[in-house]
């Protein structure tokens, strides 16, 4: 019993025979070198794809191990560049040459800088500033300070203070309440003009005029 499939094959046979006689279409052989290179090119692409899938660190290590001389040259060049950069960096200066200057906020100040030249690893530099004052003014202030100090330690001033204290002595009740305050005042004897009261200042000026 012949199937429909076999009948179809029989009908196609003359055409298939003619096609076979014609040879294989597009059957021209490429250049002979093509086949010897084909396998190599495929494997090169395979290896390139494998390398692309590897992590960066692994690729770098593989490159270094495969080309040690080139890797050494690159490493040396990079080290030389870094060293040259460090040596020629204008911002990198030695510690002892550093001078930190803090500008005065409102007026011009002479700046005095102390640097621990002998001890580079000591505490940070301290900056001391003082106002710019004329020499004559400085001399006058110095003489005033001396006079005030002399006066504060004089017997007249002590007597004056005692007299002023007696005059302003409070009642017994008020005295009891302000014992601590009085005690504190007694321990802090005036050492500068800023700490004196207005009345004390007036008496100081009075004493100065008398001394003159």
């Amino acid at each position: 019993m012949i199937t429909q499939e076999e009948k179809d094959d029989e009908r196609l046979l003359p055409i298939l025979r003619e096609i076979s006689k014609a040879g294989t279409p597009y059957g021209e052989e490429p250049d002979p070198r093509y086949w010897s290179n084909f396998r190599v090119r495929v494997m090169e692409r395979v290896e390139a794809a494998e390398i692309r899938r590897q992590p960066l660190a692994s690729r770098l290590w593989q490159w270094i191990t495969e080309r040690p001389l080139r890797a050494g040259a690159v490493g040396f060049s990079m080290a030389a560049l870094v060293l040259a950069g460090v040596l020629t960096n204008p911002f990198a200066t030695s510690q002892k040459d550093v001078a930190i200057v803090q500008p005065a906020p409102q007026m011009h100040h002479d700046t005095v800088v102390t640097t621990p030249a002998a001890k580079p690893l000591a505490l940070p530099e301290h900056v001391i500033t003082k106002p710019s004052i004329d020499v004559a003014d400085q001399q006058q202030i110095a003489s005033t300070n001396r006079a005030v100090t002399k006066m504060l330690h004089s017997k007249e001033y002590a007597a004056h203070l005692q007299h002023a204290a007696d005059a302003s002595k409070p009642s017994m009740a008020e005295a009891d309440q302000s014992v601590s305050t009085v005690t504190a005042s007694a321990s802090d004897l005036p050492v500068s003009l800023n700490e004196l009261t207005e009345s004390q200042l007036e008496s100081v000026l009075h004493s100065l005029e008398q001394n003159k």
Binding site: L16, I19, P25, M43, V46
Partner: protein, 204 residues
């Protein structure tokens, strides 16, 4: 890149097993060596004879095969599996290319006119080949694929069905119509006797 001559004696299954064991480059190099021509020419027929396109497709096929061979478990023959990868590469490339290259029959006629008498038989054969190439190019894609796989690559219908995802019955119908159209084309150029084509058409 080492090429192991001793691997040439191994079967496909043994080469794949070797690949799975970690001898990837050595075994795969032999697989490439074994199938490069068949894959190249199959690709070239699919790409209308363009050597450069066929070369690209064939290389893509093997590179993709290397990446996927780890998962190959031998459900199909190795060549069938490679062929399927090649067909996918052809489809991808054809989509990129969009328009297929068309070849006029001027080349066929010129070949006949400029042929030498001493090489007459060769020229006749060459002429027929060109006509067949042109006939194949005019086929619908499905018929064309089936015809090339069945007639030139000699794949059984079951494997073609596996590659193309079409039923065996549908493939046989496509193959029949493809051969008939090529016969008609050959008849137009006097390569098949008129009485044969008449009887062929009458019997269909």
């Amino acid at each position: 890149m080492a090429f192991h001559q001793e691997y040439l004696l191994l079967t496909d299954e043994e080469l794949v097993a070797l690949f799975h064991k970690g001898e990837r480059h050595g075994s795969f190099t032999v697989i490439v060596e074994r199938y490069q021509k068949r894959i190249y020419f199959a690709a070239r027929r699919m790409m209308d004879g363009d050597h450069d396109e066929a070369d690209e497709v064939a290389q893509d096929t093997f590179v993709k095969a290397y990446e996927a061979l780890e998962g190959f478990r031998g459900e199909a023959k190795l060549y069938t599996w490679l062929y399927r990868i090649m067909m996918n590469a052809v489809i991808q490339r054809s989509r990129k290319k969009k328009s297929r290259r068309t070849v006029g029959l001027e080349g066929v006629e010129n070949t006949v006119e400029t042929g030498e008498i001493s090489a007459h038989d060769q020229l006749v054969q060459r002429e027929t080949t060109k006509i067949i190439e042109k006939a194949i190019e005019t086929l619908p894609p499905k018929q064309r694929e089936v015809f090339l796989m069945r007639f030139y690559d000699e794949l059984p219908y079951e494997e073609i069905a596996n590659i193309s995802g079409t039923s065996v019955g549908g493939l046989k119908a496509n193959y029949f119509h493809a051969v008939k159209k090529i016969g008609e084309y050959l008849h137009q150029y006097g390569k098949i006797a008129p009485e044969f084509m008449a009887s062929f058409n009458a019997s269909v």
